[in-house]
Symmetry: C2
Subunit: 332 residues, 2 copies
């Protein structure tokens, strides 16, 4: 594990990611080897055949083969909190020596005590303060460097793995399978766009220009005689719920024909793509494997799968059971 | 001319643009046949060689070969006003029967009288009112249909040509040349993104997801039981001047290595790309051909080339003389 992760990082730093680091898709004849035979896999393969076979009445030309993927909980795990929250907490700790007042000031005091419940008690307002303190005030280049360093070394508190080792192998295969069939794959995530881009190309094969995420405002400034873009503590795009179709139209400019999510935050994206004409594919990943991953759905406080689940059943979207449909979960 | 334009439109409507309508690049051995031999052409070819030859110390891997192009005045003409203004005026005229008060109400009264000076007298505020009245209030799909219809039939008042017949053949060749060398080409324009996307793929070979432009806010709504995105009369992104590097970072997420513009509105984009490490290419199109196109630069009121020109000279960027460097101007 260690050596492959180190090479990921080196490759990111060297900027030659695409050549040296290919996502861990199998070269075997079955393009989806981690997907067990069953209704989900069958639905995926049937859809791809339907839109790519020239003689199909639902044939879609290559440029229109756009697929969008949620990230947290859809491409990698998101428990106990979205991994970007761990990043933000680590940044609070790293910056704490310059902010002695944080020791007694919420939400920072709870972060420094490692008190997740205490942070949660500060609500949306507290989280926004943490995001502003950790995601703004530096240049975009500086922030990318911080993310690269963190993603190369930080580990999940429960599994002890690097976070990039907690991406889902079946979804990595699915991304590669779609691309192999002429699809352009995009990430459309509520997570921070500048947090995902430094590693999305290496880990998912999705280049920065195909990563859409929540974003803060930027300001062009001259520092030390050089132009830089400074990250401001103000939100420019909240890429969640109805923000997803809006961002898809704003950034991609055409309606995807396939979308993949796992929670109510993805509902509007799935509705948006499913509402277009022709063949469409909407899929939800259901976290029902408490042994190999985490089990949560309707009752979850943070990443609820509830309304979107009902809609999926009503509209016959594909609902993937991680327990039954996936022979392996993590890519490493 | 008529038949090729009709096929462009059909192809846009059929949604199979990329297959049927290829930009008018020559298949001859010289990939830039409309560029006369000289310093500008030499600089372009030398740069492409420098970043694509494996043995070059400035070699750039394919994923990082990002090039950004301004549109108005850089890829197609922009006189006497940016062509989107003609579109807006035509929309005012088309909507006038539903707005009897416009006959006496500025800036609409001037538009209906065909009085360009009268519109200009209403200033920025007047133009914003026209944009709000013509670019908002409908769904994104409805707007795209209106643009498709207009671009297929509206003609330039002075030349009598379709506006898509006023794209620059040398720039079409340049776009294709760069793509043939592994570049991903983007448009980064102050013009409206939803105005450019319906025809950018056919005319420039640039797909909607690689078109960045000024944009209004969108709202997700249910109409007649279907989800739609409604265009609101509020600006989300002003993609001009310092807005260009900001939009490039927000949408593309990495710094282009080449950029192409023609006015002071492109200065910050050129500075931004030129300021990165490694080989960079910055180019300005100088409109100095009053016979075959339009001649304007420092003294122009609307599309000034002044500060950016000085900067280009100081930094040895490439300044293209349309009169001396291009053997032909328009693509049709």
């Amino acid at each position: 594990m260690r050596s492959s992760s180190t090479s990921v990082v080196l490759v990111v730093l060297l900027g030659s990611c695409a050549a040296a680091c290919t996502p861990a898709a199998s070269a075997a004849r079955d393009p989806l080897p981690s997907w067990k035979e069953g209704a989900s896999k069958k639905a995926i393969v049937a859809f791809v055949d339907r839109v790519t076979r020239q003689s199909s009445p639902d044939f879609v030309p290559v440029p229109a083969r756009i697929a969008t993927f949620d990230n947290d909980g859809s491409l990698w795990a998101e428990k106990p909190v979205p991994f970007e929250v761990f990043f933000a907490f680590d940044r609070v700790k790293a910056q704490a020596p310059q902010h002695p007042d944080w020791k007694t000031q919420e939400p920072f005091a709870s972060v420094l005590r490692g008190d997740l419940a205490g942070v949660a008690a500060t609500g949306e307002k507290g989280l926004m303060e943490i995001m502003a303190a950790t995601h703004a005030g530096m240049t975009t280049d500086e922030f990318a460097g911080i993310v690269e360093e963190w993603i190369a070394s930080a580990r999940h508190p429960a599994t002890g793995r690097l976070f990039t080792e907690m991406v889902y192998q079946p979804m990595i295969e699915l991304l590669a399978y779609l691309r192999g069939n002429g699809f352009k794959t995009f990430i459309v995530s509520g997570g921070g766009v500048e947090f995902m881009r430094p590693w999305s190309e290496c880990v998912y094969g999705v280049p920065p220009e195909q990563v859409i995420g929540s974003a803060g405002k930027l300001k062009l400034e001259t520092r030390d005689g050089r132009l830089v873009l400074v990250k401001l503590p103000a939100i420019d795009l909240n890429d969640d719920k109805e923000g997803k179709p809006i961002a898809i139209q704003g950034r991609i400019g055409r309606r995807p024909i396939a979308a993949f999510g796992n929670s109510d935050g993805d509902l509007q994206m799935l509705q948006w793509i499913a509402g277009g004409g022709g063949a469409r594919f909407a899929l939800l990943v259901h976290h029902d494997d408490g042994k190999r991953e985490f089990a949560y759905d309707r009752a979850d406080k943070m990443q609820k799968l509830d309304v979107a689940w009902d809609e999926a059943i009503a509209r016959r979207w594909t609902v993937v059971s991680m327990r039954n449909d996936w022979s392996s979960i993590f890519a490493h």
